[in-house]
Amino acid sequence: MMSDRPAPDIIMTAHGLTLRRDGVTLLDTVSAQIRRGSITLLLGHNGAGKTLLLNCLHGLIACDTGTISGPPLARQKMVFQKPIITRRTTSGHLRFLCPQLDDAARRDWLRRAEMDMRTDAPARMLSGGEQQKLALIGALAARPDILFLDEPTAHLDFAATKFVETMVREAHEQGMTIVMTSHNRAQAERLGEDVLLLDRGRIVETAPADRFFSAPSHPLAKQYLDHL
């Protein structure tokens, strides 16, 4: 479904994405543009279709109709809400995620994640927060053009959340495009530049983050922010 590259300031364009399963419309003619180098937040209640849209944009799920144009899969990375961890050591898992890293670079990334003392520990024995950090550095180390993060700080403590946000900001400063979902309003306001609000598989509002949080235009957006 990937087609020609979009305009220079737009890294990814989705047009008319529709996905139905068992007679239920999960995504309904979703169209969106992701600005190059931006942090775009996909917001919405549980079941609104945020994760599904991320998966579609990343190419993990094929939509029934619609087109997506953007970087090739090799230039994209995704960090899942529940990291998928292999049965290897911490260092071995990082090598699997990003084979092009040499030993020194791998050690450096693990040191930055404060996991350098756990390089030989089984990755599946790490805590949830450590696994999430490992998944994140595995994605960042590959320096993708676009990074998808599905609720990257869900269930994380303050320190791990701070680490994730710091790494996201740093990657953003280096020009990486980030598309993420979050249920944390404070985090969304701290990080977000553009917001796409989803409701039952439809995009109901697209706006710059500051305007979305200060003066949302759609009634559902106001309602959503009241609940957040």
Binding site: L73, Q76, I84, T86, R87, A123, R124
Partner: protein, 235 residues
């Protein structure tokens, strides 16, 4: 003769390193280990392929493989006998009543176990890892390589299960090997023969060895599971 006497004679035979007994044990281990190795080399890629890809004839392959899973060893022995007997399609190989024929029969016997259990292991892991593999853009070969690596504990257990089945089997090797002294006589066929001839001590000695092999397999399996559980494997 009291029931303990055969055990005592058996231990004496084992301790003395009786040449014939050692030859039988050695041949049994060689035949079964070779058959297990061959079944894993053929069965693991087939299991991986069946678990990860849909292709025409896949269901038929699974049905055939599962059918052979419950096939009695004597029937397997008979099928292999028909294949390799002088008038059979593989008769030109001239391997009937040789250890090679026994290896072939045991390979056919344990191959379905190797395929079925590895397919199960790969299917489960593939379900878990598919989104990650897809996200990383892994090709077909890289996926199978990664799956085999991730399933390494399960595969060791599968190897042990195959070995347990092969070493304890009697019907197939009896038919295609002929139980020829100093040539194709293995532990199970020797036990059958010795028992029928009233040589209970000799039969018991081999029985004790088989028990020891089974015990070793179990201990090895438990140790492997334990050590890999410490590495975060769900075993």
């Amino acid at each position: 003769m009291d029931i303990l006497t055969p055990f005592q004679i058996a231990l004496t035979l084992l301790a003395s390193g009786d040449a014939e007994l050692m030859g039988i044990i050695g041949l049994s281990l060689t035949v079964s280990l070779t058959a297990v190795l061959a079944s894993l080399v053929i069965g693991l890629p087939m299991g991986a392929l069946l678990a990860t890809y849909r292709f025409p004839g896949r269901t038929a392959l699974i049905v055939v493989s599962n059918t052979f899973l419950g096939m009695p060893p004597v029937v397997i022995g008979l099928l292999v006998y028909l294949l390799i007997s002088r008038s059979g399609p593989l008769g030109f190989m001239g391997i009937l009543y040789t250890p090679a024929a026994m290896m072939l029969a045991q390979t056919v016997l344990v191959l379905p176990i190797s395929i079925a259990l590895s397919r199960q292991a790969f299917e489960s892991l593939n379900g878990e890892y598919a989104p990650l593999f897809q996200s990383l853009g892994l090709g077909r070969l890289d996926r199978i390589k990664a799956l085999v690596f991730e399933a390494r504990v399960a595969l060791l257990t599968i190897g042990l299960a195959c070995f347990g089945r092969a070493i304890s089997e009697v019907g197939a090797v009896m038919i295609v090997g002929g139980n020829i002294r100093h040539s194709t006589r293995v532990m199970t066929t020797s036990i059958a023969l010795a028992t029928s001839m009233g040589e209970l001590a000799f039969a018991m000695a081999l029985g004790v060895v088989l028990l020891l092999v089974a015990l070793t397999i179990n201990i090895a399996s438990q140790l492997l599971r334990h050590s890999f559980r410490n590495l975060g494997h769900d075993v």
